[in-house]
Symmetry: C2
Subunit: 230 residues, 2 copies
DNA sequence: TTTAACTAAATGACTGGTCAGTTAGTTAAA
DNA sequence: TTTAACTAACTGACCAGTCATTTAGTTAAA
């Protein structure tokens, strides 16, 4: 109703060169995940970011450049220390898996973190660059580290002799399945609360099954210690 | 240069009312999986199906109707007997899982079968109908059957007491992960041959780990029989 | 301290191409 | 000859990317 008494009205825009790119990428991520790349108009991204369409093109050369910058920004910070930690570990892989699983799922429970791999999976066929970036920077580093972890665990006799490539898929797969069922098909585990992923229960069940499965056979070196049940 | 000597030339088109819809859906499935729904032009579908663009609209009311008919056609034949078989089973769930796993993966190794869930996952956010159809006709029937299988297995003391909702995700997840890595990120297990999924090795590793993990604790009823190792 | 000249951030109308869906006309088949 | 399957040209909406113009903020002379 009442205009401010000060003579000068609020300015039409502010000049904020530093903040714009991140704000545009944030807006784009939301929209891409919600509606997909092709159905998101550049003008929508601009509006949500609080700028005009033209401004988007001041910071990004094309719509494609936006999604690439988006993934680039996200994958820069994910791996690194964790991979090194896993890669250097000597001993029973179950120890480190028990530590990492909750941290991993905590990260993936943040919608803005999970959004990026979801986006990459969805747009990969039409944007191979995204898949390549994600492979080179994230999966291609994490996966070999886990394989190496299993290899040394088997050599040390801490765990059963299995194909490490396949074992890694058995470690990660249940998490993927859990998220996919909920996210794509709206299928959630039984719970009192709605939309409750029950991550701790998933981790508990998964690691219980997996760790018992990884228990070395009685002919293997380290079997003297009692099996860890329940 | 030289026209055929026969007086009547080859006809410009044939009238094939019965065959058209399936041919159009086949063409559409290929293109949707390859390039995604939005980037596939109706004219491309028509050309690949050997008809004109207008002909597509004789059989389908819109482009959306094409993808819906596609999924509808595919999910009609998938489940049924298998689900009933699992649902009625009494005994150690591992028996029936051992039987089903290779059949399941054999089906999923057919690119035209795998194409449908891939498509549904990708297009679900913009076409909720697809996700609903797939949930009601496939996942929503298979998943509860597996949960029931686990429940009765635990009640009978054949397997360890775990959360059945979560256990189901642990059973299916590794397959999903395996296919996703190869398909989206072009990451394949070590092999002499290129693009070799090594399905039997995945099944072997997965079931080895899982079945040992499912082994009931020594306080449970059926534990008298010797554990089945490697 | 004021203000005029200047820089560059930001706008928004416009364009050219693309494509879903329509329709008038053509042709195979009964 | 009739009919309906089919084609091909057409239309109108939509949207990525451009650019002439406007405006916020900065600098320096008075």
């Amino acid at each position: 109703m009442s205009e401010d008494t000060t003579p000068e009205a609020a300015p039409k825009f502010r000049r904020r060169k530093e903040a714009r790119p991140d704000e545009i990428l944030d807006a784009a991520l939301d929209l891409f995940v919600e509606k997909g790349f092709d159905r998101t108009r550049v003008e929508e991204i601009a509006t949500r970011a609080g700028v005009s369409k033209g401004a988007v093109y001041l910071y990004f050369s094309s719509k494609d450049a936006v999604i690439e910058a988006l993934v680039d920004r996200a994958v820069g910070v994910i791996v690194g220390e964790v991979v090194d930690q896993i890669g250097g570990f000597k001993g029973d892989p179950r120890e480190i898996l028990r530590q990492i699983a909750p941290l991993f799922m905590a990260r993936m429970s943040d919608p803005r973190v999970l959004a990026v791999p979801k986006l990459v999976i969805r747009e990969a066929p039409t944007h191979p660059k995204l898949a390549t970036m994600y492979r080179e920077r994230v999966i291609g580093r994490a996966l070999p580290a886990l394989v190496a972890l299993f290899r040394q665990g088997m050599e040390g006799g801490y765990i059963r002799e299995v194909d490490p490539d396949m074992a890694v898929r058995c470690v990660l797969g249940p998490f993927l399945m859990h998220v996919l069922l909920a996210d794509v098909f709206d299928i959630w585990p039984d719970s009192d609360r709605p939309k409750d992923l029950r991550i701790p229960d998933l981790i508990d069940t998964h690691l219980t099954l997996l760790f018992a499965g990884l228990e070395p056979l009685s002919t293997d070196p380290h079997t003297e210690k009692e099996p860890q049940n329940g």
